[in-house]
């Protein structure tokens, strides 16, 4: 029983990480109806920027905030420059552009920073909270930060005019134009927010898996599984999905399929959800227009 609890709790810990990246994926999907294959690399790149800032002597939290801001700008720029020309292009063109973004960010990072693994600091103390044996302070802290981000996003969307405008654009771009909303900039804002959320995720993940240009590969897959499971347009669902995927991965890995095949849990979940209930547990049903 104790071993099982351990698996569940450490599953929640890794789940918190998947949840934070899944939140970024959901943000982009909500506003643009696109699946951002490059989300992981954007988060990774932002984390490297944070590393540079910290290495240059900046304190952790100032570097954290500045990175989030820079990531926001990066997201806006990517949307305006790279994505906008293909917004209405056939799906294949969009997918190709996303993949191009993925590989360019990945290789640019490798070029600038080299492929040697680096450590990334955690703002949380090294000793586990209350001396517990299940989760490190960082893992608990990461979950906490993810929940804070979720609450901030909720407040933003529900209670601010800008958030309302973004919800409007996500539902009905044409009517949004008719009330004067600059739809193009709302999309860019969505990307900026998603990039910022991704940067937070990256900075929470890096202390655990170490900083390396390829650190996000598997995690992106888990994040996709989490986002799909929770509902690709539901931020709350993404977080719940993240925890669920983390726990499932650990439990199935320990008791059913062995630790080697954990990624296939993500694969199975993705295909399973897409086939059985594409809107996920908490998402709204989308009718594919014929």
């Amino acid at each position: 029983m104790d071993a099982f609890m351990h698996q569940v709790l450490s599953g929640l810990a890794t789940g918190g990480i998947y949840a934070s990246l899944a939140l970024a994926l959901v943000m982009i999907y909500r506003v643009t109806h696109l699946v951002n294959f490059a989300q992981g690399e954007m988060a990774m790149f932002s984390t490297y920027i944070a590393w540079s800032l910290i290495n240059a002597g900046m304190g952790y939290w100032p570097a954290f905030l500045l990175t989030v801001l820079l990531a926001f700008v990066l997201g806006v720029v990517i949307e305006r420059v790279v994505i906008r020309p293909v917004e209405n292009a056939p799906v294949l063109a969009i997918v190709v552009i996303f993949i191009a973004l993925l590989v360019i960010l990945n290789s640019a990072t490798g070029w600038i920073y080299s492929y040697t693994i680096k450590t990334f600091p955690s703002p949380f103390p090294k000793e586990p909270l209350f001396g517990n044996r299940y989760m490190s302070s960082h893992e608990l802290g990461a979950i906490g930060i993810t929940l804070v981000v979720l609450v901030l996003l909720y407040v933003f969307f529900r209670f601010t005019p800008l958030g309302l405008a973004m919800r409007a654009v996500a539902q009905n771009p044409e009517s949004s134009r008719l009330v004067g909303i600059r739809v193009g900039w709302m999309l860019a804002l969505g990307w900026g927010l998603a990039a910022a959320v991704g940067a937070v995720a990256g900075m929470m993940i890096a202390p655990i898996v170490y900083l390396d240009p390829n650190m996000m590969g598997g995690i992106l897959l888990y994040a996709f599984a989490a986002a799909l499971l929770g509902g690709i347009d539901s931020p709350g669902g993404a977080v719940i999905g993240g925890f669920a995927v983390g726990v499932l991965e650990n439990v199935l890995g320990a008791y059913v399929i062995g630790n080697d095949l954990k990624l296939s849990v993500a694969l199975g979940l993705i295909i399973g959800v897409l086939l059985v209930k594409p809107s996920g547990l908490f998402g709204k049903v989308h009718v594919t227009r014929v």
């Binding site: 919800r167 044409e174 009517s175 134009r177 008719l178 009330v179 004067g180």
Partner: protein, 236 residues
């Protein structure tokens, strides 16, 4: 000076040309009706004014060129469009829909008083302010669409078949509100309508469109009194 001037407006959906060179104008404070059969190009005209279709030709609003501009920029000049199909944000609440109408305005206090005024025109909307707009009845959604447009405090209101699918009592109510808004707040109105009789009662001027061209124009009461025109073009 005419508030809205359109010269040689041509519009196409892809390769299909729908408007073949429309000319018309509206004066400030007037109500203008655009009449015609289905498929004549009435809706396209309104969409063209808002930059929602590809156009050629000249369109001026308050003297400034609006052809070729983005919808959201045209709207910010003071044109509110109530589209056919209403364009309600169905997953947002009634109140959120209304507040979105005022999205571009900066005068917060005036927005609140406008909202209160809308609720006095349409008490049913006030009852349902926190309900999802998609759950409102057809008539209520039409009221909501009109109100949302009013929240913009527009100089020009474009109505696309506002009577469509509404019970006659509601249509009368709606047209009364249009008259009130026009008289009390000097909002100009461009009305596309199938119900020619009611439109001509309300309007000052009317244009008749057939296959993308203006075939007749003049003061509304003249057209109303002209039996030949009524029978051949308006079917009554």
């Amino acid at each position: 000076m005419a508030l809205l001037e359109v010269k040689g407006l041509r519009a196409s959906y892809g390769p299909t040309r729908v408007l073949h060179g429309l000319d018309f104008a509206l004066d400030e404070g007037s109500i203008t009706a655009v009449l015609g059969a289905n498929g004549a190009g009435k809706t396209t005209t309104l969409r063209a004014l808002c930059g929602m279709v590809k156009t050629e030709g000249e369109m001026r609003f308050g003297g400034a060129r609006i052809d070729g501009r983005l919808t959201e920029d045209i709207v910010r000049l003071g044109i509110a469009h109530v589209p056919d199909g209403r364009g309600t944000f169905v997953n947002l609440t009634t109140e959120e829909n209304l507040r979105l109408g005022a999205y571009t305005r900066k005068d917060r206090a005036a927005v609140e008083s406008d909202l209160a005024r809308i609720f006095t025109y349409f008490p049913r909307l006030k009852e349902r302010r926190r309900q999802q707009a998609g759950t409102l009845s057809g008539g209520e959604q039409q009221m909501l669409a009109v109100s949302r447009a009013l929240m913009l405090r527009p100089k020009l209101l474009l109505f696309d078949e506002p009577s469509f699918g509404l019970a006659p009592l509601l249509v009368r109510e709606l047209f009364e509100i249009m008259r009130t808004v026009n008289q009390r707040e000097r909002v100009s109105i461009l009305l596309v309508e199938q119900n020619a009789a009611m439109a001509l009662d309300l309007a000052d001027r009317a244009y008749l469109i057939e296959t993308g061209r203006v075939v007749l124009s003049g003061p509304a009461d003249e057209i109303k009194r002209d039996d030949a025109v009524r029978r051949s073009y308006l079917g009554y």
